[in-house]
């Protein structure tokens, strides 16, 4: 029974990681840039929702889309202010810049809300029990919300013009540019999509656990592991990668002490980088 219970926790964590990893993977694939501020963008999204829920007093189902929009606005602002000007230099300069952005975001949040933990609402929620297993209602919302968001992303990428342009840029940027795609516009859209999914992931993580300034930084490694596992620039791969990392992290507590859970994501990532650098679903053509 314990295994099934851990599997359930793994799927919940996996869907949170998936939402974050999709954004990371899209940005990596389209803007060619490993965004080290991604975990902290997740954290910022969770705190923006905290502002709407606790400070303004809105119900969560209103605060949630507002926080997603807030996360997207934040990302586009950072991009226009910093990354747009640095894009012409080497990708590594962007990487260093994003590392700094991560720190700026974390210290800003800590300045406003302080270093201690917060929750959206007080009180203990009892898990629903069935066949000796427990799942909290919140976790059901997280699973349902993740499925809905991934489905929406799928429709967006498949049927809208801008979604098609994003996939084209990710697959072959030279060819996409030659066929007249406006790169800067696609980049802004990539940030909007990636960052709003990431903000959603942050809110789900905060619902599942609690809000803390380092909650996102701690998740950066699993996010990268999931994106690399699924193949950089492949949003559908990120789903498989996110689930694999989430389940592996929770299941690992059967054999190792929980303190080393983050090491599991890392070990999986290193193995995949050595064995299949193109990712699990990668075709191996690149």
């Amino acid at each position: 029974m314990e295994i099934v219970q851990l599997l359930i926790y793994g799927i919940v964590l996996g869907s949170i990681i998936t939402l974050g990893a999709i954004g990371l993977s899209l940005i990596y694939g389209i803007i060619r840039f490993a965004n080290f501020a991604h975990g902290d963008m997740m954290m910022a999204g969770a705190y923006i929702a905290l502002f709407f829920v606790v400070t303004v007093g809105l119900p969560m189902f209103v605060a949630f889309p507002l926080a997603m929009a807030g996360g997207a606005l934040l990302a586009v602002t950072i991009d226009q202010l910093l990354y747009r000007r640095l894009r012409r230099t080497s990708p590594v300069i962007l990487l260093i810049s994003s590392f700094g952005v991560a720190l700026v975001l974390r210290s800003l949040i800590q300045l406003i809300w302080g270093p201690s933990i917060h929750v959206y609402e007080q009180g203990i929620k009892l898990p629903i029990r069935f066949w000796g297993l427990g799942i909290k209602p919140d976790q059901l919302y997280i699973l349902g919300g993740s499925v809905a968001l991934v489905a929406a992303l799928h429709l967006f990428l498949k049927y809208t013009r801008i979604g098609k342009a994003m996939r084209a840029l990710s697959d072959n940027s030279a060819l996409a540019q030659a066929s007249g795609i406006d790169t800067e516009r696609v980049i802004i859209w990539t940030w909007v999509i990636g960052a709003s999914l990431t903000a959603a992931a942050g809110i789900f993580l905060a619902i599942d656990t609690q809000l803390h300034p380092v909650m996102g930084w701690r998740l950066l490694l699993p996010l990268f592991a999931a994106a690399i596992l699924g193949g950089i620039g492949k949003p559908y791969g990120a789903i498989a990668g996110g689930m694999a990392i989430g389940i592996a992290q929770e299941m690992s507590t059967l054999v190792i002490t929980p303190a080393y859970k983050p090491a599991v994501a890392f070990a999986l990532m290193v193995i995949i980088l050595l064995v299949r650098p193109a990712g699990l679903l990668g075709g191996g053509t690149k």
Binding site: V92, F99, G100, S107, L221, P262, A263, F266
Partner: protein, 320 residues
């Protein structure tokens, strides 16, 4: 016996610390500035060096491994060797990877090392840390002189590493490193074993970071996992190198001193904050440094002394 108080004491403290940062920045400059290896796990190597030296030199203890009670110099050599071995193992796994993958891997390794320091109490005494790490000849010299002698030790180490790295930079070995940084494929095509050269630079740079860690442990006398959070031990070093000018050893040291001065200056600033904001001071200081980094990247990406951009190019010489 003298006791250092007031301004001289602050000055000795400041310069010693700047020298330790200078060593870290030189190590990073060999890896990133000369070879293009993107290491953001500096905190990990720094911590390994600090713990290695602490375990080798403190008196025997029940609560963590060792206390071998060996002399200071053994601690320093040990710090470098252990960091070197850790770097070798990591390098074998990750140095074949692309720059961004290497960066992600080094973050992971630093994080795992931090978890080990925190959770393996038998080795490191866990979160309680290791105390009583003496400065060399402390009981002979008295507290005041020990501080001054230690400053001299740090500056000597910094000077030696600087001279060695400058010579290495101009040697055929250094030229191969720069060739790899500029164009890996060409270096490979001209018969250089790229992975081996990268490994040498990575291990050597990490050993210097380990040495800095060892010196830090003796400087403070107490270490715990908290001292090796990536914010300070990794991020500040990167800002120092970029501010000073990556690829340039003098720039690396200058950057270490200037940014350390700014960082210390922000402490004076935040000390003036009202008491109820005191807990936020650390966050405010990091925020300022983060903004400083962005300003440097946007306005002067080559740093104070430049380096990578301003390559003096006389007539092409038949290198190597």
């Amino acid at each position: 016996m003298i006791e250092l108080v007031g301004i001289p004491s602050i000055l000795v403290y400041f310069v010693t610390f700047a020298g330790i940062f200078g060593l870290l920045t030189l190590g990073l400059n060999l890896q990133w500035g000369s070879t293009g290896l993107f290491n953001i796990g500096i905190a990990g190597f720094f911590a390994v060096g600090a713990y290695a030296s602490a375990i080798l030199t403190t008196d025997a203890s029940e609560s963590y491994l060792g206390g071998a009670g060996l002399p200071f110099i053994v601690g320093m050599v040990g710090a470098m060797l252990v960091s070197g071995v850790v770097a070798l193992i990591i390098g074998l796994i990750t140095l074949r990877l692309r720059a961004d993958y290497l960066a992600i891997s080094t973050i992971g390794i630093a994080e795992i090392l931090r978890l080990v320091l925190k959770n393996e109490g038998w080795l490191t005494n866990g979160v309680r840390g290791i105390a009583g790490i003496d400065k060399p000849w402390a009981d002979l010299l008295g507290a005041g002189w020990a501080q001054i002698v230690f400053l001299a030790v740090v500056l000597t180490a910094l000077g030696l590493v600087y001279v060695a790295f400058e010579r290495a930079h101009r040697s055929p070995w250094g030229r191969v490193l720069r060739a790899i940084r500029e164009n890996e494929a060409t270096a490979q095509a001209s018969g250089k074993n790229v992975v081996r050269f990268r490994m040498e630079a990575f291990v050597l740079g990490s050993m210097i970071m380990g040495l800095a860690g060892g010196l830090y442990a003796h400087f403070f006398g107490f270490i715990s996992p908290e001292a090796f959070e990536p914010e300070l031990a990794t991020f500040l070093i990167w800002v120092m190198l970029i501010a000073g000018g990556s690829g340039n050893n003098r720039g690396a040291i200058l950057g270490a001193f200037v940014v350390w001065m700014i960082w210390s200056g922000t402490e004076l600033l935040t000390n003036r904050l009202p008491a109820d904001m005191a807990t936020q001071a650390g966050a405010l200081r990091l925020l300022l440094i983060g903004v400083l980094l962005q300003v440097i990247l946007l306005t002067r990406p080559e740093g104070i002394l430049g380096g990578r951009k301003r390559r003096r190019q006389p007539a092409p010489t038949p290198d190597d």
